[in-house]
Amino acid sequence: MKLNTLALASALALASASFSTAASAASEADVDNSFFPNKKGFPAFPGLNPGLVINKANVEQFKGAFDPGLFDMVKDGWVEITIGKNSDFPQPKAYIDATRGAKNGDIEGYVAGRPFPEEPDLKDPRAGEKLAWNFKYGVNYGDSGSIYPFYWRYRNAATGQIERTIKFEFHFLNFMHRVEQPPIPEITPNPAKIYRGTYAKVYEPQDLKNTQLLIHRFEDDTKLDDAYLYLGFQRRVRRLATGQTTDAFLGSDMMIEDFEGYNGRTSDMHWAYKGTVNILVPFFNHNEQKLTDEYKESDGYKFVDMHGKGNCMPNVTYQLRKSYILEATPVNPNHPMSKKVLYLDAQTMYAGRVLVYDRKGQLWKNFTIGKSHPDHHLPKNKGSDVSLDDSFSQIDMQAMHCTTGQFKVHIDAKLNPPDLFQVQNLRGGD
């Protein structure tokens, strides 16, 4: 894997979609190591066994198994962590095969799979950038996926008061780099070169009912997303200016940029790989968790419960997993954060834990996303090999406020027809 080292890093950061490298197929060993990190055994930490509850009384003993954000939360009594059994989260075979056979190591001409499957190297100045591309082109929801219902709650972390509940429906569709669901690798015609579409609709509360949001992310990383909002009370599609990705989404603790760990242009950040650690992350089997009876689903599905201070954290089990520390520093000096640290799960490239620091360098937001194994979730998700988003928590540590999310994910291609991601579909709304 060789990158063109002559270009200035800043210039590359601004035009990273176009950087060209001398591409080579990743070795079998690289790919195996990337997708099967537990082949030789799961990571371990002394005394850390399934069933163990870590709280402020014993957290110091396991400090090495924590990222600093979660460690402080446990130490300060925000939450207790229950350890679950280690498990493998295999990725879709087609995605792995695409990685194996691709001319990877080059974003220009990238087709599918994990672009940079090699183990990151601290000596590689662009290792962070490669991880950022791996993250961007990760499996995520596979070629398509949906969430319904998806409950967001705004909570006062100090009092536990639920201030607002939003009920969403979300759909995701990759127009490009598809590996499993026909057509492969791209839905055509796609003259605008949309990489991914996101469609969301709000059902509750009353003032947001029937609001729809459509986001088109383009293959050209330097291009801003196109976004359209259908406001139920206006019955009209409104074009959005998408440059303000640091806006608090619908007043939640989530900036638009915070979705899925990082939801912006790769070129908007300087990326740095800061090492590999084994840390506790909320990866689990949904059906084995303590679930809440609060929301009723006709199929009997139950959602992950919340607990801890202000009920801001998902009540799920954690397991020790190999993670890459990826640090993102904004290119824009006026960005409200000084940096974001993503703990990328080595096997899945999901950011199970993310820490956001304010411009003074103080911890601002503590983001957790819980992942369920698809074989222990809805029956239809079984065998999809898509690690399922199952809960999230974004805590504003300074404002003592949090936003939580509880998911019901469906991996089902027919739920995400391309026309759902057309602007015109919004206009057919109620």
Binding site: P189, E204, Q206, K209, L415
Partner: protein
């Protein structure tokens, strides 16, 4: 009524047949709400809203008080009925208690208590007294015309006209001893001026036209009945859903013969076509929204609008009048150069309905038009007193344009509004639109639109010689008493029928975003032909003109730290432009003659909407400026979601204007339909026998078109609180 019911039945049957006929095509069957899907039970949301508003003083200095106590129950129900079909229904019932709680202002006790309460300007009175025209004050009943204002029914009538005629040596139009003869003006009840002439009806329940927002000064005005039509039926006409409403219908407007409590009831489905494209069908009572701009309706003209609910200040979704419409949309998907292509056909097969401009006597009468209409209809039916109408001059000489005028008592069928021609239901009267909408490879969203529809605003066309010539008692100038004017067709007469002409529209819209400016831009434009405007330079007092309208809008989410450092504040600015082609306006001795609407008009709006407390509190400031009317509005408000189900909104709506003189326009006093009796003179000469206006001007009746909806409501400043609860 029977025909109404048949039409409704026909529409329901047509919808049902269409639904049944299309059921056999391949459709989607999925299980998430956005995707049509399988059969699911009804999902029902019930909302209650109370909107309470309070108004300050109107132009008379009178404190209006409660202007709205509207209680709304809305039921929104959705159901997937299988085979990909989804049905949605919105039922809405409103009861506005303002008509009972403030009945002196809007209900059964509204308006004057007696004829003497209605003070109709009579600028000639003091001048007549100064020259002793009718003898010493109090010496005879005629001297009642000496006062600067007269009560309703106190204008000059046939006696004065007879006297003037005889003094001038003109044909005596009166009967023996001044009794009623050929001339059909109505004498006051000289025995008791507080009791109007019998034909005029009671002096109670009246207001002077425009008194809430302008001063008559030396212009014209007339008394307008303001009580609900079951309390006072004078001037009541169906102008298309308003104008003839009784108290209970004003209180609960949705429960009418058009079943407006069914706000929406439609079925929709997306059909997958063999070529990979799909076809979206939506049938039933619905709103179809075109365009990309807020507030201004450039392309968004498929559904008429109910301005009686809250003037222009409610969300359009709440005031569009849903119609029975079939819309089909072929969603073709992308092509080599376009990311999306869509072709939509909209067929509005409902019986025509115009905009609801508000019935006179209710709190929201946009442009005060409903009062003009009702007053004019009353003038036609019963006659009435018109302020400052008969020019004061030496007998037998034309009145000077810079003179003074007597309030004048007209008889029935002389001036006013005779009839409203609402288009009946027929295939030819249905409305059809086509839109192509696409997204280009570069992200430009655009649409090209075409629509043929009926004007949603009324057009007043003079009926001229159909009316009675009050001087001769004959129609037009058919009487020998018209002298040299006999046989000359009567034109420019302020007697009208109301029409809703067919309008054809072509237009387009687009939007795009600019990364450099961090903003999204919205543009919209339309050219119409067939619209009709008031035009005092034309024989029938209207003209048909092409109109171009456009709006450019900019939305910029902007961090304003003192509002919220973490959440953008939306700043949205719009500029509306309207150009009337072949605009007519000319200067005459008394003022401007032609079209009161501005040839080029500009209105700007600015919205600043912040979000605090995790979007649970949203302070909003809306500013609007009508640049030609020199009028502006400021509407600050705060929305506060106490819970997910309970929201309170506090706000104010304040308007003002620079001065009203720029709104004055030819009021057609000097339109000279019945020469020689109606001739005016000026230093430039005398009108002669050719009809046409000399331009005598006032605010009423055409100044409303220059004041616009903001200016005409400048004395309707309100404070309000709205509570909305979801059960």
């Amino acid at each position: 009524m029977k025909i109404e019911r048949m039409n409704r039945k026909r529409m329901v049957v047509a919808t049902a047949l269409a639904l049944a006929g299309l059921g056999s095509l391949e459709a989607r069957a999925d299980n998430l709400p956005s995707l049509g899907g399988d059969v699911e039970p009804w999902k029902v949301d019930i909302y209650y809203e109370n909107d309470t508003r309070y108004r300050g003083q109107d132009k008379t200095g009178h404190r209006v008080g409660l202007s709205k106590f509207r209680n709304t129950l809305q039921i929104e129900a959705d159901k997937k009925v299988g085979d990909g079909w989804a049905v949605r229904s919105i039922l809405r019932g409103t009861w506005d208690g303002v008509y009972r709680l403030n009945k002196d202002e809007y209900g059964e006790d509204a308006g004057s208590k007696s004829a003497a309460d209605v003070r109709i300007p009579n600028t000639a009175g003091p001048v007549a007294q100064s020259v002793g025209l009718f003898g010493p004050a109090g010496s005879n009943p005629l001297t009642s015309h000496y006062s600067a204002t007269v009560p309703y029914g106190g204008g000059v009538g046939f006696t004065i006209v007879d006297a003037i005629q005889s003094q001038a040596g003109l044909p005596n139009l009166g009967g023996p001893a001044g009794g009623p003869g050929i001339n059909k003006f109505i004498d006051p009840n000289y025995g008791n001026l507080a009791t109007p002439p019998v034909g005029y009806g009671s002096g109670a329940g009246l207001q002077l036209l425009g008194q809430r927002w302008n001063s008559t000064g030396s212009g014209v005005a007339f008394a307008v009945p303001v009580r609900p039509c079951d309390k006072d039926k004078r001037g009541c006409r169906d102008f298309g859903g308003y104008g003839d409403r009784k108290l209970s219908e004003l209180e609960a407007p949705e429960f009418n013969d058009r079943a407006d409590f069914i706000r929406e009831l439609y079925a929709k489905k997306t059909f997958d076509l063999a070529d990979g494209s799909n076809f979206f069908l939506k049938l039933g009572r619905q709103q179809v929204v075109w365009g990309r701009t807020d507030l201004f309706r450039v392309l968004d003209v498929i559904n008429p609008v109910d301005y009686s609910r809250n003037n222009i200040y409610d969300e359009l979704q709440d005031i569009r009048i849903p119609m029975w419409i079939a819309q089909g949309e072929w969603r073709m998907g992308g092509s080599g150069s376009m990311q999306e292509r869509n072709l939509q056909v909209v067929w509005n097969f409902d019986k025509f309905r115009p905009n609801n401009l508000g019935q006179c006597g209710s709190p929201n009468v946009i442009l005060d038009a409903g009062c003009f209409f009702r007053g004019m209809a009353n003038l036609w039916d019963n006659g009435g007193t018109v302020a400052n109408f008969a020019g004061f001059s030496a007998p037998g000489t034309p009145a000077p344009v810079d003179g003074v005028w007597f309030a004048t008592n007209f008889g029935p069928n002389q001036i006013g509004i005779r009839k409203v021609h609402l288009p009946e239901w027929s295939l030819a009267n249905s409305q059809l639109g086509v839109k192509f909408e696409g997204v280009t490879q570069g992200g430009l969203n655009f649409s090209v639109n075409a629509l043929t529809y009926r004007s949603q605003l009324p057009s007043l066309r003079s009926i001229n010689q159909v009316a009675v010539n009050p001087f001769t008692g004959a129609h037009g100038n058919s009487s020998p008493f018209s002298g040299p004017a006999q046989g000359i067709p009567t034109t420019n007469l302020i007697a009208f029928d109301v029409y809703f002409p067919r309008v054809n529209l072509i237009g387009g819209s687009m939007d795009f975003q600019s990364e450099t400016l961090g903003a999204a831009f919205r543009l919209e434009g339309a050219l119409t032909e067939g619209e009709e405007f008031a035009n005092t330079a034309r024989p029938r007092l209207y003209s048909e003109n092409k109109v171009f309208r456009s709006v450019i809008g900019v939305d910029r989410p902007t961090f304003i730290p003192f509002i919220n450092p973490n959440r953008t504040t939306l700043i949205s600015a719009q500029l509306f432009y309207q150009h009337i082609f072949d605009h007519e306006l000319k200067s005459m001795p008394g003022g401007k003659v032609g079209m009161p609407d501005w040839e080029n008009n500009y209105i700007g709006t600015l919205l600043i909407k912040g979000f605090v407390m995790n979007d649970r509190v949203s302070p909003t400031l809306i500013l609007a400026r009508d640049f030609k009317a020199h009028a502006w509005a400021i509407a600050p408000s705060v929305e506060w979601s106490l819970t997910d189900d309970l929201k309170l909104t506090f706000g104010a709506n304040v308007k003002n204007r620079d001065n009203q003189s720029r709104w004055e326009f030819d009021d057609c006093r000097s339109c000279n339909p019945y020469a020689p009796y109606t001739m005016y003179t000026s230093g430039a000469g005398t009108q002669g026998f050719a009809p046409g206006s000399f331009g005598l001007s006032g605010i009423e009746p055409l100044g409303r078109f220059r004041a616009g909806p903001i200016g005409a409501a400048w004395k309707e400043n309100e404070l309000y609180v709205t509570l909305k609860y979801k059960f």
